[in-house]
Structures are given as structure tokens and as C-alpha cells.
Amino acid sequence: MATKPKIKDLLDESACSHNKVRKVACNAPKPGATTGGCAFEGAQISLFPYADAAHLVHGPMTCLGASWETRATGTSWRGRDLTQVGFTTDVTLNDVVFSGEEKLTKAIDYIMQHYAPQAVFVYATCVTALIGDDIDLICKQAAQKYGVPMVPVHAAGFVGSKNLGSRLGGEAVLSHLIGTREPEKTTPFDINLIGEYNVTGDMWQYTPLLEELGIRVLSTLSGDGRIADIRTAHRAKLNVIVCAKSLVSLTRKMEERYGIPSISLSFYGKRDTSKGLLAIAEAFGDADLILQTKALIAREEAALEQKLAPYKVFFQGKKAVLNTGGNKTWSIAAALQDLGIEVVATAVKKATEDDREKARQTLGDRGVLMMNPGAEQAKLIDETGADLLLAGGRSLYTAIKKGIAFADVNQEKKKSYGGYNGLLNLGEDLKNALLNPVFKNVARRAPWQK
């Protein structure tokens, strides 16, 4: 059980700013009043993007059956994209009674024979964790047999939230992959991208710019990731955490173990992308690189501004209310501002202290931070004359009642909103929403209604 991470330690992360102020058990779900995914889902989110590895879910059918092929994480891996191949032991009553270990061993054999992956991640789930299947031992034996990494992931759903599961996924990578191989060469500007999952190809919006600057992405956890690369991650000079608080434990440990410093940033919208690129250059402290980066930023921003001009004309005077959670409370707000939309209010009910501060900075003094968006947003739309509501599907009815445009922020994205050019995609989608007469048309009363 040595590889099993200590969950209590993970929940008390010293690198989390809120843990300096107060200790809240943010992982105790309330029966009958809980939303959000489990630890297994979090692990899946953080590890499934490795397309050259098989992801074997050791559990009954709900775990994988309801969740595979749900996230559009792009990969340039030329082999079969194993992110989108579902593997599960589909444990049955027989396995529950007599143990699922033999089945798991055979499943790994099957995968190695038919798919020859670069690694196999084996995910424990509630049922198989409860019956005590020893996935550590099975992985160890299989790794010896096949000579490829077999990574046990101890993030059964019932250990906690999605966020904790992502951390546990990071722990598994740290224990079993990072530092197990040396890179063929190193460069002075090698980075790891941590917490970037390349959903809809977000990462590809900015990695060409990094490349142009001579900054090499040595490895990623885990967008467009390769097992061979993440094994060499200990040789990077810098860890770049992209929009993911869940992996700060991992980067802190990498700093302690390998002396790799880390920075946290986002590539959402124009200002964040520019700030992010510059932050990386500044972290290296190389004067030339900083100059070069500034030049590149100036060039990209000028090019973007030109393309954005027609959108800015269109969005002039348009006001939006934003109702979402987490880092989206401010990152989407900033992107909207980049488009020339005034953000009159943003919900901060489901945001951390850090996120609330950033939301305040982004919106300025006049913007409203909604603590109870469900009740407040309708009133705010009236008061501010907002034209657009960006929220979860739940709020659609509010928009229809007010006769204003609606955009679902939680909808599965089909195209990237990341980096400089992603802003154009966002602009196009919001322009289409504002031009769409549907929200007014469906609100039309039936002839037989008064």
C-alpha cells in the first residue's frame, strides 16, 4: 500500500491560499444535496488525455459506461487514440464475491496483446476498492511482465470530489512515471504544462507561440501528452500550471524533489494569454527571451485586434451578466471584456476567495459580484439593461422571460475559446447568440393565452 497517497495530506495542501486562512473540509458532500462529480471522474479528467496509454477502469458498468467518449481532448498521437477507447473490467456479482483480481490481470494481458499501449492506467472504483482488490500488486506484476509502466490510480469515487480525484491522478503520475526516464536532450527553456487537457485543442492555440520563442514543452499532464515524455518531466526547468488548482500538490512536490519552480496562469482571452506568455519568459529570467516574448505579444495582439475590430463594433454598448463558478467567474469575464462587452455582474457563489478577488479586480468597482445569482440575476438584467446572459442551462428560463440572448457556458464546447484566436471563436458564438431571434420568438404567447 506504499504507493497509496494519503488523502488527508492532499486535502491539507500548503500551497492552497485558502488553507492559510481557514480549514474547511471542502470534500464532505451532503447526502441528498450534492452536485458534481466524484474522485474517479477527476482522475479520468486529468489522465485520460494520454492517448498513447490504455485507461482500464476496474469497476462495474456505471463508472466507464456513462463516461467514456465524453471529453473532446485533442491529440496528435499517430497511433490509435486510446483516450477514446473504453476499457472496463465490468465487474459482476461473481467478481464481487470471489474478487476481481484475476479478471483484472487477464484484462491487462488482453490490452497488452491487442493494443500494445505505452502504459496502462488502472483505476480503482468504489466497488473494487471496497472488496479490496490489490491493484498495486497486479500493476507491479504486469509492469515486470511487459516492461511498460502500469499505473494504479487510487481515486475510487467515494474518497471525495472531482478536484481530489485530479490530485490523486497527479499523485499516481508522480509516483509511477515522473523521473523514470531521461530525456534525449534538454534545452534551457524546457517546461511541463500541468493541468492543460487540450479540450477542443485549447493548447494548440498557444503552443506554436511557445515553440516560436524557443520554449520547449518537454511534457504535459496531460493534454496531447505522451507517456515517454511525462517520464522525463523531472528535467524541466519550469512547471506551468494552466487553470488547474487541483495539481498544486504535484508541482509543490516536484519543486521539493527536483527543484522545479512553478507558475500558475491561464490562456483564456487576450490579456491572460499575453500575461501568461510573458510570465513564462520572466520566470526564466532571460532578458533576450523576455524581449522576444514582448515583441511576439505585440505582434499577436495587433493581428488579433485587427480581426477583432468588427466584433468590437458589434459588441459596443452590449452588456452581459455572467453566472458560472470557479475560475470561469473571472476568466470568462476578462475574455468578454477583451471583446468589448461590458460585464455588469458575475456570480461568485461557487468561487474560492482567490477567484472572488480576481473577479472584483476584473469587473472593477461598478460590477456586481452575485452571492445568490439564482435570485439576483433577473433583477440585475432589468436594472442594467443587460443584453446577454451567460450561464448554465438552468438559467435559460430567466433569459427567455427577460427576452434577452442566452449562451450556455457549460455546454460541451465544440471549438476552442483558448489563446488569442479562441477569442474570435467566442466572439463569433456570442455574436450569433445576440443576433438569434429565437429567445424572443419562443417567448411569444399562444393565441389562446392572455
Binding site: 464532505a28 458532500p29 451532503k30 447526502p31 441528498g32 444535496a33 450534492t34 452536485t35 458534481g36 462529480g37 466524484c38 474522485a39 474517479f40 471522474e41 482500464l56 469497476g59 462495474p60 458498468m61 456505471t62 463508472c63 466507464l64 459506461g65 456513462a66 463516461s67 467514456w68 467518449e69 465524453t70 477514446q84 477507447v85 473504453g86 476499457f87 472496463t88 473490467t89 465490468d90 465487474v91 459482476t92 456479482l93 467478481d95 464481487v96 479478471k103 483484472l104 487477464k106 484484462a107 494481458d109 488482453y110 490490452i111 491487442h114 468504489c126 466497488v127 476498492a129 471496497l130 475510487a156 469515487g157 467515494f158 474518497v159 470530489s161 442551462g393 438552468r394 435559460l396 428560463y397
Partner: protein
């Protein structure tokens, strides 16, 4: 009939389209008006199921979780999580019913769900649906049965005009509505259990309801047992009819393995004519029969040169294969995720219990796939035509209104299959 192959020498599922029992249970409870389905297990099962159905129906899905954690799992026999959940749910909303269904986690540790349910002073139906047994279809059927057993009051004497319809899980909301209307057009008063036709049919409500909005009412379930007739569609539902008859020995039962295609619909019409003593059905029914006959002829040329893979839950599998076969479609391969008595009746050259990896290994044998969203990548890789059917369909909108049943829906299915087959042939010939 083909021989059913239960290979299963494979120690795993690769590219599964099998879905779990608790998800079938959730869906069944969503066919009851103002219900709150409560899944007993870790929070992830509920979260996954909610997202799964939200994306399929493009509708908000009411569901809650008992949110069992590893600490609670060790100490609690379900009493704490379930009682606490009911308390927390009813603080915010007042459901007409709480639909308690289990997952693998509490079943593995042996929670006494029935015992806990007895202590709860609130309308609640409980059902054991571990996800290490059965599948979507059995979860739905078990739940329907549990609702009958725990809610329907025993009755003596029957109301000859009252008919209970028990539809299998794969029937989409509009299909349930069409079957109801078909039967109603013969003069019956029809109650469907579960009834997705008024809950997940994709209607615009006044506001987003926190509970299921539409479906059969709890009062109507309580008084089901005075119906003169019960009609089951799908072999999975036969146990439910027995449970209902146990409440009233005078109730008579008609069973239809499916209602797809000319012959199956004929048999329903025949039964209804016999019951009513009418000499002919309502004009709309006979008109649609003529249209289906014509549709079969119009589509036979394309279907007759096409080989199909059909991937579906057993009851739906039987219906789709029959429809295609009747108009000349060759079902080369039919795959079910689970075993069922229905599989013996499936009209296909080969019937297997398997997954989509099996389908891929036999890709040489078919040209067009009828199956769910997970078949899309397979169709793309192998250059096959695709008719999207079954849960989930995350690729398209309008799933609740897709109708394949009776004379009318039969036309739509055949046209879509024939057109898909033709266009994928054209693509290949270019």
C-alpha cells in the same frame, strides 16, 4: 433464427455500449410526475447519470445522490445516508415521490435498503439495482415492478375501458405517446408506467423544475390495479405485468415483444379489435398501415442491397431487426450488451452478447450501423453508414421525438435506414 453466441472469453469490455442498472432505474423514476430519483451510492454515479441523460434529452434531469463516502461506507448501513438525504431533499422541495435506487457500492457492503425505507415517513419507492448485475433494461423494469408492488393498491373488479401500458426502456418519449394514442383511438383510457411521454418529451416549461415535470402521477399508479387490461411492450416488462396481476387476478395481459413493423403492429390492432369488438380500426390507423406498406416497397431496393449491424438493448434490438428484415434489410450482425430471452427471437444472421470491439472485428460483415453515439467513431473509422438509435445520442438533437414504432414510426425508420444506406453507397462509389 440465428444462434445466440455468448462468447465471453474476454475478461473485459472494450468500447462498451452496455449501460448500468441504476441508470435504467433513474430513467424509470423520471417517468413519474414530481419525482426525485435518489441514487444510493457515491456522488459520481449520480453526476455521470445526470450529465448522460441531460445530454441525450437536452433537458434538465432531476436526480439526487446519497453521496456515500469511504468513511460513511464503513460505518453506515445506509440508515444515515438515506435518512439524511430524504431530510435534505424535502427541506428544499416537496416531491410526490422519492425514487430510491442502489448502485454497486451499497450493495457490496450489504445495506438493508428495504429496512431503512420502512423507517422513512415520506412517499418512497425502493429498488435494488447494483450496477454489477443486469443493465439499463433490467434496471428500468425492476423499478417499474417495484413501483407497482409498493404503490399500487390491490383491487377487485375491473374497469374494462382502463388499460395499463408498460413500455420497455428504449422507447423514446414520442414512441410511448404514439402507442398510447394508438390504443386510445380504440376507446381505451390508457395509463403508461413509466410515462416519459409527458416528462422528457422536450417541452418548454414555465421554469426549470427541480423535480421531474410530467409523467404518470403517484395517485394514478396507486389506482392502476382496477384496469381491465395490461399491455407489455418488450420481454423485459413481463415481470411487471405479473406484479400488477398479483394485485388483481381479473386483469388480463397482452404481451408484445416489440411494436416495430407491420406484423407486430397488426397483432396489437388485432388484439384491440378483439377487445372492442370493432370490425375495423379508426381511419388514421388503417391509413398509416397503407403508408407503411408503401414505405416498405419504396425502401426495399436500398435495404435489399444493404447489410446491417444493429446494436441495442434486447427489446429494441428485436424491434429494429424485425423492421429492417421485413423490407429486405439483411441484419448480418445484432449485438446486445446483455443476455435476454428476447435474443432468441432476434431476426439476424448472427446474434451476440458483446461490445463494440466485437463489432469492429467483424466490420467486413456489414455496411450500415444502427446504434448509439459510441458507434460513430466505429462508423467513421470503418467507413460505414450510421443510423443513430438508443442511449446515448449525444450527437444529435431531437431524440425525444424520434419515432420508430407502429405503422407510422415504421415508415420513418425504414426511410432513414434506406436513405443512409444509399448515401453511404454513393460516397463509396465516387
Amino acid at each position: 433464427m440465428a444462434e445466440v453466441i455468448h462468447k465471453n472469453n474476454k475478461p473485459l469490455q472494450v468500447n462498451p455500449f452496455k449501460l448500468s442498472q441504476p441508470m435504467g432505474a433513474t430513467l424509470a423514476f423520471l417517468g413519474v410526475d414530481s419525482c426525485m430519483p435518489l441514487m444510493h451510492g457515491g456522488q459520481g454515479c449520480t453526476s455521470f447519470s445526470k450529465v448522460f441523460f441531460t445530454r441525450h434529452f437536452c433537458e434538465p434531469i432531476a436526480i439526487q445522490t446519497t453521496a456515500v463516502t469511504d468513511a460513511i461506507a464503513v460505518l453506515d448501513g445506509g440508515a444515515y445516508s438515506i435518512v439524511e438525504s430524504v431530510k435534505n431533499i424535502t427541506q428544499k422541495v416537496t416531491p410526490s415521490l422519492i425514487g430510491l435506487h442502489t448502485t454497486g457500492l451499497p450493495e457490496t457492503k450489504g445495506d438493508d435498503v428495504a429496512g431503512v425505507a420502512r423507517q422513512i415517513d415520506f412517499p418512497l419507492v425502493h429498488v435494488n439495482t447494483p450496477d454489477y448485475e443486469g443493465g439499463l433494461e433490467s434496471g428500468w423494469a425492476k423499478t417499474c415492478k417495484a413501483m407497482i408492488e409498493q404503490l399500487a393498491a390491490p383491487s377487485e373488479g375491473v374497469n374494462d375501458n382502463k388499460l395499463v401500458l408498460l413500455p420497455h426502456v428504449s422507447l423514446q418519449p414520442i414512441e410511448v405517446e404514439k402507442i398510447k394514442q394508438f390504443i386510445e383511438s380504440f376507446g381505451f383510457n390508457v395509463f403508461a408506467l413509466p410515462d416519459l411521454s409527458t416528462s422528457l418529451d422536450g417541452h418548454l416549461g414555465d421554469k426549470q423544475a427541480a423535480l421531474s415535470s410530467g409523467g404518470i402521477s403517484v395517485e394514478d399508479i396507486q389506482s392502476l390495479a382496477d384496469a381491465g387490461l395490461v399491455v407489455t411492450v418488450g420481454d423485459s416488462m413481463q415481470g411487471c405485468a405479473k406484479a400488477l396481476q398479483a394485485k388483481n387476478a381479473e386483469m388480463r395481459h397482452y404481451h408484445f415483444p416489440h411494436l416495430s413493423g407491420l406484423e407486430a403492429t397488426d397483432s396489437l390492432a388485432e388484439a384491440l379489435l378483439a377487445e372492442t369488438g370493432f370490425s375495423s380500426p379508426p381511419p388514421a390507423v388503417s391509413r398509416w398501415r397503407l403508408r407503411l406498406q408503401d414505405a416498405m416497397l419504396d425502401s426495399h431496393f436500398s435495404l435489399g442491397q444493404s447489410r446491417f449491424l444493429v446494436v441495442a438493448e434486447p427489446d429494441q434490438l428485436a424491434g429494429i431487426c424485425q423492421s429492417l428484415h421485413d423490407a429486405g434489410g439483411r441484419v448480418a450482425l445484432a449485438i446486445s450488451p446483455v443476455n435476454s430471452s428476447q435474443l432468441q427471437k432476434v431476426v439476424a444472421e448472427k446474434v451476440i452478447v458483446g461490445d463494440l470491439e466485437d463489432a469492429e472485428n467483424m466490420a467486413e460483415e456489414y455496411d450500415v450501423i444502427v446504434g448509439n453515439y459510441h458507434c460513430e467513431a466505429l462508423a467513421h473509422r470503418q467507413g460505414k453508414g450510421l443510423v443513430l438509435r438508443g442511449f446515448p445520442n449525444w450527437e444529435q438533437v431531437g431524440n425525444a421525438l424520434k419515432n420508430d414504432v407502429l405503422y407510422e414510426g415504421g415508415c420513418y425508420l425504414l426511410f432513414e435506414a434506406a436513405n443512409t444506406a444509399s448515401s453511404c453507397r454513393e460516397v463509396k462509389h465516387v
